[in-house]
């Protein structure tokens, strides 16, 4: 359960933490996130020394390895600016698991101070920037899959929806069992491929049944999973990170 979080006023500067999946596979999503923040008049800082939040190792039980990597991230975001993450999963790691990770090992107060500066992107757009979106796109039917960590750990399912609902030409379709996990689960998809395949196939069916043209998610893991499966089926449903989608629809291109 997400605790009630108090949000600061709009800052002058904000850090952006890309996450490793975005960095390598979905850079346009990260860039869109940064552009959205910049458009609201906040200077976005992208520390070039950032790598990965450490979650893959942490969830595999390799705690020392995860800590070594997490320590590097702590060193990248030292100034007192919000740290915005375009992923519920990685944001959840940095906000909720870092304090646990360093319990009785590091200066707890400074870890907690760091963690309290971490925001998931949609949460930051809605509550800190109070963003107002003007939809410039054509009418489209969109299904939203909110990742389990965005929904349960970060408690930002409503923020995902609220942003899409600001887009006047977007019809938000609701798939059956929208709260259910898509079956990604990091290494789970590889360690339990049969169960994962069953889950992603059920999820893709539910999304296809809505008649949506596009699948949107705030987490690239889910996107890679469900989107990869939709492509494998040759389904006529595109998939996009929520940041890319919002940026594309609200960004006036010249000409």
């Amino acid at each position: 359960m997400a605790e009630q979080k108090r949000y600061p006023a709009k800052p002058k500067k904000a850090y952006f933490f890309a996450t490793c999946l975005v960095d390598l596979l979905y850079p346009e999503a990260g860039l869109a996130g940064m552009q959205l923040i910049r458009r609201e008049g906040v200077e976005v800082i992208f520390p070039q020394d950032q790598t990965c939040c450490g979650q893959p190792a942490w969830n595999s039980g390799y705690r020392d390895e995860a800590r070594e990597v997490a320590l590097r991230q702590l060193a990248c975001f030292t100034d007192n600016y919000p740290i915005v993450v375009p992923s519920g999963s990685c944001a959840g790691m940095m906000r909720h698991h870092y304090p646990e990770m360093f319990r009785e090992r590091a200066d707890q107060a400074s870890i907690e101070a760091f963690s309290s500066r971490v925001y998931e992107l949609t949460e930051f757009l809605v509550h800190v920037l109070k963003i107002e979106l003007k939809d410039l796109g054509k009418p489209i039917k969109v299904a939203l899959h909110t990742s389990c960590s965005a929904r349960r750990e970060m408690g930002v399912a409503d923020e995902h929806e609220a942003l899409l609902k600001q887009l006047s030409k977007v019809e938000l379709m609701t798939q059956a069992r929208k709260e259910e996990c898509c079956g990604f689960g990091g290494t789970f998809a590889v360690k339990q491929p049969a169960i994962s395949a069953e889950m992603v196939s059920d999820k893709a069916n539910a999304i296809a049944d809505t008649g949506a043209d596009l699948l949107v998610s705030g987490d690239c893991g889910c996107l890679m999973n469900i989107g990869g499966h939709l492509d494998y089926r040759d389904a006529a449903i595109e998939h996009r990170h929520i940041a890319s989608f919002i940026w594309e629809r609200t960004h006036a291109t010249e000409g």
Binding site: V22, D23, P27, T51, R63, A194
Partner: protein, 472 residues
């Protein structure tokens, strides 16, 4: 290793059974909807869950004192209390009681602890008949199967399965797949057994220390039959089931029935505080309470893992688990399946035996979200993953380090080496981007049902620089 092979083949088997898939899906959808309807107010639910967690945590924090108090109160009330460190000891105690009364038929109410003890098989080898009387458990006993869900044991079966089973076992009763008829037939058969049984066995939902009261939750009345009609009642329970006060029972009861099946209350809530007293016309003449440890005290030693023992066995975690819903209870191969089983059972049987269970989760958190006593199941799954591969075994958890393989450890070492150095990481990024056309991405199981993701032509580190985003 054997377990691993078994687990995987059981998963394959379950996934290959479309009827099981349909039964589980509709049953779990129903149970989830019922629960939701029972808790209309989110804030009230959260307050109640917090209270439930406190009551259970309070009981655990005082466990040794409360067990002694329970023993003392029960003894004063005339209940005979027995302690068992292991399943073998507990079985021996039950056998001893049966022998003492030359009892030949034990009629059983639903008890997961007796499943843990494998009591039926044990007593039957000693020539004592054990008969399950909960309708679902009775069906499974006829079928020779273990329960697949802790609250709805026969949830994997259709009524046609059950009708065929009855026809096979009772050829004289005409075939019917009508639920009311099947139920009436079972009532007729079992009524004669309640009438004849020389001893009854039950589990315990809550054991109240301050009054020496054993509480039982049920809908059918078989639990009441087992604890009322035969001259001897034997209750078996894990040592963690104790609560401090009677006043703690109402909130837990509310959480239990609503979380389990979405009932505001079950038909019967049976509170037993002793055998029949002088003058009373019925009730057992003897009541025995068997307190079973079987690894619980070991779980109790660790400040984080102890939270496993808060569980009140409602089964909501399995009802909401996307994995349980896909594979069903039997695939787990343990007494308690699902998320709670995946943290509890490996701690009891050892990570060397059941270490695969905590790994077989997406950590989606649906279980923790609904747990009425707020057990942080994903956190504990994560902890057990760590215990399973840690190299510095301190012996606190059974089978620590047993899942560590040189290959996997080397992979994570390399991963860490790469990601803790920005220079190496950026170099790897550039390299991956350059070779993106030929790199084999996500081969193996991933691409069996998915198109592989594509590495972008420019990674975000580079795009950020190009688009003028500052480094500091």
């Amino acid at each position: 290793m054997q377990q691993r092979v078994d687990f995987h083949s059981r998963i394959e088997q379950a996934l290959g059974n479309p009827q099981l898939k349909a039964s589980l899906r509709s049953a779990m959808d129903g149970l989830m909807a019922n629960r939701k309807a029972c808790f209309p107010d989110a804030d009230a639910l959260e307050a109640l869950r917090l209270r439930g967690a406190q009551i259970r945590a309070n009981a655990l924090s005082k466990l040794p004192q409360l067990l002694l108090q329970l023993e003392q109160r029960c003894t004063q009330n005339g209940i005979r209390v027995h302690w068992a460190e292991s399943v073998d000891e507990a079985n021996g105690i039950v056998l001893g009681i049966m022998r003492e009364h030359q009892a030949e038929l034990l009629i059983k109410g639903k008890s997961m602890v007796s499943e843990e003890m494998d009591l039926n098989r044990f007593l039957e080898a000693q020539g004592i008949e054990c008969l399950e009387s909960d309708l679902g458990e009775y069906i499974l006993q006829l079928a020779g199967e273990p329960p697949s869900h802790i609250v709805a044991p026969a949830i994997h079966k259709t009524r046609q399965d059950i009708a065929r089973l009855f026809k096979e076992k009772f050829p004289d009763i005409p075939y019917s797949d009508d639920v009311d008829t099947l139920t009436r037939n079972a009532r007729g058969i079992l009524r004669k057994k309640f009438y004849a049984a020389s001893a009854g066995l039950s589990g315990v939902n809550f054991a109240v220390a301050e009054s020496g009261t054993l509480c039982l939750v049920e809908n059918e009345g078989n639990g009441r039959m087992c604890t009322t009609v035969p001259p001897v009642h034997i209750a078996v329970t894990g040592i963690e089931k104790v609560v401090e006060k009677l006043a703690h029972v109402p909130p837990l009861l509310k959480l239990l029935t609503r979380s389990a099946t979405g009932q505001h209350i079950t038909t019967y809530f049976n509170m037993i505080s002793g055998p029949r007293r002088t003058g009373e016309k019925d009730g057992p003449k003897e009541v025995h309470l068997v307190l079973l440890d079987n690894g619980r005290s070991r779980i109790y030693e660790d400040n984080e893992l102890v939270n496993t023992l808060r569980c009140i066995r409602c089964g909501a975690c399995m009802n909401h688990c996307p994995i349980y819903t896909r594979i069903g209870g039997h695939a787990y191969g343990t007494t308690i399946p699902g998320p709670i089983g995946s943290i509890l059972e490996p701690q009891k049987a050892g990570l060397d035996n059941l270490g695969e269970l905590p790994v077989a989760s997406t950590l989606c958190g649906a279980c923790a979200e609904v747990c009425p006593v707020r057990i942080p199941i994903p956190t504990l799954l994560n902890r057990l993953r760590y215990e399973r591969i840690r190299s510095d075994h301190d012996g606190a958890t059974h089978g620590q380090g047993s899942g560590r393989t040189r290959k996997e450890a080397a992979i994570w070492k390399a991963w860490s080496w790469l990601h803790r150095s920005p220079v190496r990481y950026r170099l790897a990024l550039t390299l991956a981007t350059r070779l993106r056309k030929i790199l084999p991405l996500g081969l193996g199981p991933w691409t069996r049902v998915r198109k592989p993701p594509r590495i972008a032509a420019k990674n975000l580190h580079r795009r950020a620089r190009e688009e003028g985003f500052n480094d500091r």
